[in-house]
Symmetry: C2
């Protein structure tokens, strides 16, 4: 390599490493704030986070960064880089250009606005008062419209937002896949509602000791291969996973004495996110590639472990006896009855409390509304009416209040338009991967039933985890399954599963 370029690469990588250091420090502080930092220190801590975030943003958009990415993107220089450095340059260039298009002052105003909007949202939800939230949400939408103008509209304006969370994803593609999911889910939900053979929920309607809930979480995380020398399990109000580096990927769950499935599936869900981050190749440490490739692929891993594995009949054939062991005398129903109770499906108002099947309809509603906001001129004032109409149409229920409707999620106050589809993308990717896994690993079902989960983790490490962000979501799903995102696998999986659970024909 040309020694000038060699030096540039070295300096560039040092800057990149520095940015990652700020990111990790901020990650530790966020984790700390959410797992038990004393409340009287919050104000000073916010200041500290503000200072370090600003420094990190300055480094990412510095002239230095601009010069490195410009120089190393020159065809002559670029050709001399190895593949990893090429990808790092690409990634930094993309972020640099995106950030540089937003004036610093505007960005700062937006950060202040979304912080306020999130606070007001919390009060508004509490007070069940959409009018209180409306002016803030209108401003957040207006800023996002301006961002689209600055970044440039892709195929449609909303495509620009989607691309932030799922690079390469388009409205055209989502309309197609969500259309199919919706068309086949809505009648299934209706059939389930009419079913006469519903799971008996009484086995779950009892108190489960919290220390023992923790014990079962720890046991199942260990079974799935979560490495406790590279992580820890804590408690927070909203469960989350945070990958500080592959040797330190922390998860949280929450415990409710009256809700065993809540802690259990939260742990499996966050454990799935964590397996991804723990198994990224060590070569990527200190680079922007050392993270999940997209929100959708990340969610595919949490959903894979939570739903495809953790809510399967095979899994409970193996692990029900451990739940019985940990809660002696509390569970005398059959494994089948326990499995069915764990998979009750019912239309409900709150997304985060919904089941595996109806969940996707909650997401599709949000997607359709966001698309109307950014592509079709829907006004914020009309959100509650549109929201309620769609719930009636797809789920057959009308929210009795905005708290149980349009005000339930924090995402919009924080400006996260384009994020919601990730959740259902995750379900689709997971089912599609599972289909290929079953073909390549004919013993898959017996492995799950025997509790041999290691080969599954290894397969996913080999196919997904190790690459971190060095391949796009599209590249990954194509390479693994030989085709692009295809909703058929999810639809068939859901139909088979829920027809069986509800004895529908």
């Amino acid at each position: 390599m040309n020694p000038v370029i060699e030096q540039q690469v070295k300096d560039f990588r040092e800057l990149v490493q520095k940015i990652k250091s700020y990111e990790e420090a901020l990650g530790v502080m966020y984790w700390d704030l959410r797992t038990g930092a004393p409340k009287k220190g919050m104000e000073a801590r916010s200041e500290v986070i503000g200072v370090l975030s600003t420094e990190m943003f300055k480094l990412s958009t510095s002239n230095e960064m601009g010069e490195y990415v410009a120089a190393l993107s020159e065809p002559e220089a670029y050709a001399q880089l190895d593949e990893m450095n090429q990808k790092i340059v690409q990634e930094c260039k993309k972020e640099y250009e995106k950030s540089k298009k937003i004036p610093a002052k505007m960005y700062q105003e937006y950060v202040v606005l979304t912080t306020q909007a999130e606070n007001v949202w919390e009060e508004a939800r509490e007070a069940d008062d959409f009018e209180m939230f409306k002016p803030y949400l209108e401003k957040v939408v207006a800023y996002n419209q301006q961002f689209i103008d600055l970044w440039g509209a892709k195929e449609t304006r909303y495509d620009t937002l989607l691309d932030m969370y799922e690079p390469g994803l388009t409205v055209a593609k989502l309309d197609e896949v969500f259309g199919e999911v919706r068309a086949r889910t809505v009648p299934l939900v209706a059939a389930i509602a009419a079913s006469q053979d519903k799971p008996d929920m009484s086995c779950l309607e009892q108190k489960f000791d919290i220390d023992k809930q923790r014990e079962i979480s720890l046991f199942l995380l260990e079974q799935m291969g979560y490495d406790f020398d590279a992580g820890r399990l804590d408690v927070s109000v909203h469960p989350f996973a945070t990958g500080l580096n592959p040797g330190d990927v922390r998860i949280t769950t929450r415990y409710d004495e009256k809700d065993l499935p809540n802690s259990l599936f939260s742990s499996l869900h966050e454990g799935g996110h964590a397996l991804y981050e723990q198994n990224i190749s060590k070569d990527l440490i200190g680079t922007p590639l050392c993270t999940g490739t997209s929100m959708g692929i990340h969610e595919s891993q949490s959903r894979f472990w939570e739903n495809m594995i953790g809510r399967s009949r095979l899994f409970w054939n193996r692990y029900y006896k451990d739940v019985q062991r940990i809660f002696p005398g509390q569970l005398d129903v059959s494994a089948d009855a326990f499995y069915r109770a764990m998979n009750r499906s019912e239309a409900s108002f709150i997304r985060t409390e919904s089941d595996e099947l109806t969940y996707n309809l909650h997401i599709i509603i949000r997607y359709e509304i966001e698309k109307m906001l950014f592509n079709e001129g829907l006004s914020v004032a009309d959100l509650p009416a549109v929201w309620n109409a769609k719930y009636e149409e797809y789920l057959g229920i009308t929210p009795p209040s905005d708290s149980l409707g349009v005000l339930q999620d924090v995402h919009w106050g924080g400006g996260g338009f384009g994020y919601f589809p990730s959740y259902s993308l995750g379900n689709m990717y997971a089912a599609q991967m599972m289909h290929t896994m079953r073909q390549e690993m004919p013993e898959l079902d017996s492995y799950i039933e025997q509790g041999r989960l290691a080969p599954i983790k290894e397969w996913l490490t080999d196919k997904v985890y190790q690459y971190g962000k060095s391949q796009t979501p599209g590249e990954i799903i194509q390479r693994i399954t030989g085709e692009e995102l295809n909703p058929t696998y999810l639809i068939e999986y859901l139909e088979n599963k829920f027809k069986e659970v509800y004895n529908l024909q």
Copy 2:
């Protein structure tokens, strides 16, 4: 105020706030590393800490900082500053000048060396092999000799090191006060060794459940006024307190089933440090004055709560029944017997396990040796022999191995010469303050005996805590007690206490 100066002050304070933000972020990461961060993430985390420490050091020694402190120290500008800004300028100037005198390369080499030396020390202590540690320690001493050359020797060369931890403290003063303490402690230790009426230790020689040990720690911390909304209690190998900001002051303790006093007094000790940091005036947040004024004054507060309060007869007259309540059926001896067992004094090899009385002799030995190293040409090779001779002379015991002797402390490997005296200074300051407190608050003893600890915390807040680093140790002790550091109060306190415990004449 002149508008140019006004702007300079504003910019200066912003830089100062930025430096404090790095300090808090680093503080959170150190706390995290010591309370349960997963071990596989340590390597990447060290990198992150390295990057942020370097940035912080660069800011403290930046040209920008140099220009601000120069400009604001100009008599005309300085006179226009309020008292707090004057003190902030002084403090930053002192740090700036000290840091600027060390070439950056030398400082980096020193950081690498001390990290290595600490690691080698750990192995050497394990292997009981001073020769292994010697070459590293020689280099660490040599670097400190160079630092003294660069900073300039004060009255003596060792004075320069002392001043780092206890501004204004000198060898002349320490020789005097330590001389008195030594002269009166050595015969008392000998008399205790010869005593026929020793405390019966059997009440402590049993297993104490760890959850209950935690319960008593939490209870006593609450009693002393530690604010759990501005802190938390965790576990670490070596207990510590860390003040991130006055709203977030965390402490740790350690639990050993067979050693109740260990967790109990560690909690009171760290709780004392924490009361100091929690009660610094909020006006000082974001400035270098928002911390304890010196190691010695800090230690006076941990020792005050651990020893003067926590090991007193009055305290156990009140709180023994709570220990009995928390450990039902385990403690049937009298409060007096429990108090005496808690105050057993015996010459021993390890400083950190020694009692309130012999502790000061451990410190005086280290002080005398450090002084010999820096002022009298003692060579590192001769340390073990000098160490053992002093233990024999002052404590009447000769360490059977270097692991139980000169290799026991981490401080020297880390370059902390001049630090050890702080521990005994703390004891002296604490006794001196207690003497004044008793005069000003005649109800003091009955307050302790009734468990009314709030007035004590308020007195200390009023006299010490609120000021943070805005007054020097000398100013504080003079203002409170009307005289400079005087060892008589400690000596008399120890003589009265231990003669009574051991029924000596």
